[in-house]
Structure formats: C-alpha cells, structure tokens
Amino acid sequence: MAQTIKLTDKQAYQIADTFAQASARILDFRIAHSTVLSDEEATELEKAEDRLDQAVVLFRGYGIQLQGAQAEEAASELRGAIDNARDTIATIHSVKQVISAGTALVDLTVAVLDRDAKGALAASRRIGAAIKGDASDAA
C-alpha cells in the first residue's frame, strides 16, 4: 500500500527550485549545442523544459497551500480578535450617538415649550439621525 508523503512548505519550495535548476540545465545544453542539435531534438528539449517549468508552478503553488493551512489557526484567532475590537469601537460610537440624541431631545423639549413648530421638527429629525448614527444630520 502506497504511503502518503507529507511535505512541509519549505520542502515544496525546495522541490520547485530543483525543477527550475533542472530546466535551466537543459536550456544551457540547448544553447551550448544549438548549432549541432536538429530541429526535432531542440523541440524535444524545449518540451522537457516546459514540463519542468509547469512542475515549478505546481510546487510553488503547493507551498502556498501548505503555508495557508499552517497559518489558518492564527488567521482565525486574529479574525475573532479584530471582530471583538470592532465591537468595542461600535460601543464607544454608540455612546456618542446617545449623547447626540440626548442633546436633540433637550432641543425638542425647549421647542415644544416655546411652541416653536419648526424647531421641534428639526430637533425630532436630529433625534432620528442620532439614533441612526448619521453625524452630519445629528450635529
């Protein structure tokens, strides 16, 4: 029964480098013997380089997948920490909204007591805007 070989990301990158070196060696041979190689031979050598170049892409991609799998736990931990921190920022902003809404509420009370219909309407709009968190309307 065949055994699965588990590579590390660095081993995958090393294998890719080895394929790249092998491809360069064939290229070196092809260049050095360009005057004596037949068209067919040159084409065959080029094909071999292409196959090795494909293996380079494959193993460098595999290296990335292995790196990603290793970093997944850390990434998930950091995502959670960022979400918590963003909740705190939202809470602090909501305190500001409550104060803005409170300010507009005082204005509404004053406008109602003064029988100022326009002022009351503007203040009630600002209460709505403050609750929604629209600072430009609430100001």
């Binding site: 890719a16 360069a24 460098r60 990335i64 921190a85 920022i89």
Partner: protein, 296 residues
C-alpha cells in the same frame, strides 16, 4: 469645594482618565506601530502580482531568444496557461496580508485619541441646556458654572467608561502576538522562498540567455546587442526586487520585535527601549517603501 476648584480637580483625571484604571495607555506608540504595519502590508502587495509577472516574463524571454520559428502569439498564450494558476494560488497570501492590514487598521482606530472624546457631543448638549429657561421666566435654568460642572462630570464619566473599553480592546489585540508572529512569518516565507525563487530563476536564465545572444551576435550583431541592452535593464530591475525582498524581511523582524515590546510596555508612555524599537521599525519601513518604489 467651589465649582472652579471642582473643575481644576477633575482636569488631570480628564487628561489621563485611565489613572483610575491603572496607568496611561501609550496611544502614540500603538498608533506608530499600527501605521508602520499598514505600510508593510502595502509594500507586500506588489510581490503577489510580481510572482505571476516574473513567471510570464521569464517564459517569454526564453522563448523569444531560444525558440526556432518563434511565434509571439502562441508564446503569449502558452505563458498565460503556464503562469495563470499563480494568481489563484496567491489568494491565500492576499488574505493573510489583508488580515494583517485589518489588524493594523483596527489597532489604529482604537488608538485614536479622539475615539473616547466627547468634546463635540457634550458641547452641543451644553448649548442646548443653556437654552432651557426657568418655568415662567426668561432666565436660564442653569448658569454657566452649573452647565460646566454638569457636562464636565458627564463627559468625565463617559470617558472613564469608554477609555477602559478602549484600553482593554487594545490590550486584547496586542495579546495575540503568536498569531501576528505566525502570519508575518508566513508572509516573510512567501517573500523569501516563493517570490524570491521566481527572481532567482530569472537571474539564472538571464546569464544563459546572454550566452545565447553572444552566439547569435556573430551573425546578427544588431539584434543581439539590442536584446543584450534589454536584458541588462531587466537584470537591474530584478536586482532591485531582490533588495525589496530583503528590506521586507528586515521590516518583518523589526515589526515582530516592536510587537513584543509594545505588548510588554503598553502602559509605559515614556519607555525608551520601546521608543527606540519603534524608531527602528519606522526606519526599516521607510527603507522598504523606498526600495519598493524602485523595484515595482
């Protein structure tokens, strides 16, 4: 205690509300660390597209100089097939880099000194309360002193409550040092082993292609000289990119050391070792920015 002395007593606490919470937070240090981390993530991005570009450029260069009966259109198509999967593979790294960027953005937003400041909000409330009149009279219900005391105290209490949350959230983010270390190591490994691998492949082949051009120069000197000039320019560009990778790795090391120190000394506003490390980190990032501009 009269109203003025109440305000004077509150003032130092307002400047550093966290005195009640066990020391001041070094927000300037957190901001500096977060800002430089954001710049580091920006400098990493061109390396991702750089891998695909390097693969394509290497393939086309080799084919143009060494293939008998070279067909430019067919070569371009073959390069796209060969190098196309790199962009999809790189998505993992794009996500990790993006996550580090979000981490830095969130730290920066939390370290904003204006975040738990209610100057505008309480300014508005004070103005509104000033318009409230005594019942049956045109006199204001609150005089200036009362207004200042009420809004000052309310602002102080809000600030204490939210500064505690702000400080705790920054502390919590900084405590995830191992995760930051793992992600920055992954980015560094990509730069050193993947992207640099592509650059090395290009360098290796450039030396061989120069040899091919030397051979071709005997029969086609003009074309060979023209291509040699192009290869020289490309070689310089690749060398600049290698230096950018080195500058990136140096910046990663400085970031990791800065993180370890800021985590320990976050409550010490005047710590000299932390200030020196943040300066080192900032210098490394400035060099990285400069190198990245020359390279990409």
């Amino acid at each position: 205690m009269n109203r003025l002395s109440l305000a004077a007593t509150l003032k130092p606490a307002l400047l550093c509300g966290s005195l009640l919470l066990g020391g001041c937070a070094n927000l300037a240090a957190v901001n500096s660390y977060a800002g430089d981390t954001q710049r580091l993530t920006a400098a990493f991005e061109p390396m991702l597209a750089g891998s695909s570009h390097s693969c394509t450029a290497k393939y086309l260069r080799k084919k143009a100089i060494t293939t008998r009966d070279f067909d430019a259109v067919a070569a371009e198509k073959a390069a796209a097939t060969l190098c196309g999967p790199i962009a999809a593979d790189n998505k993992v790294m794009t996500e990790l880099n993006g996550l580090l960027g979000q981490y830095a953005d969130t730290l920066s937003a939390l370290a904003d000194e204006q975040l738990p400041s209610y100057k505008d909000e309480f300014g508005g409330l004070k103005d509104s309360l000033a318009t409230v009149k005594r019942k049956g009279s045109a006199d204001p219900l609150f005089d200036d002193g009362k207004l200042s005391a009420i809004t000052g105290l309310a602002s102080h209490l809000s600030r204490i409550a939210t500064q505690r949350a702000q400080k705790a959230a920054i502390r919590d983010l900084l405590d995830h040092e191992a995760a930051v270390l793992a992600i920055t190591n992954a980015l560094n490994d990509y730069a050193q082993h993947n992207y640099r691998g592509w650059l090395k492949d290009e360098q290796r082949e450039l030396a061989l292609l120069r040899e091919a051009l030397d051979n071709a120069g005997k029969t086609e000197p003009l074309a060979a000289n023209y291509l040699k000039t192009q290869l020289l320019a490309e070689e310089k560009q690749i060398a600049a990119r290698e230096q950018a990778v080195e500058a990136f790795s140096t910046s990663i090391r400085e970031l990791q050391q800065a993180h370890a120190l800021i985590k320990q000394k976050y409550d010490q506003p005047d710590d000299k070792a932390l200030a020196a490390q943040l300066k080192q980190f900032a210098l490394a990032i400035a060099k990285l920015d400069q190198q990245a501009k020359a390279a990409f």
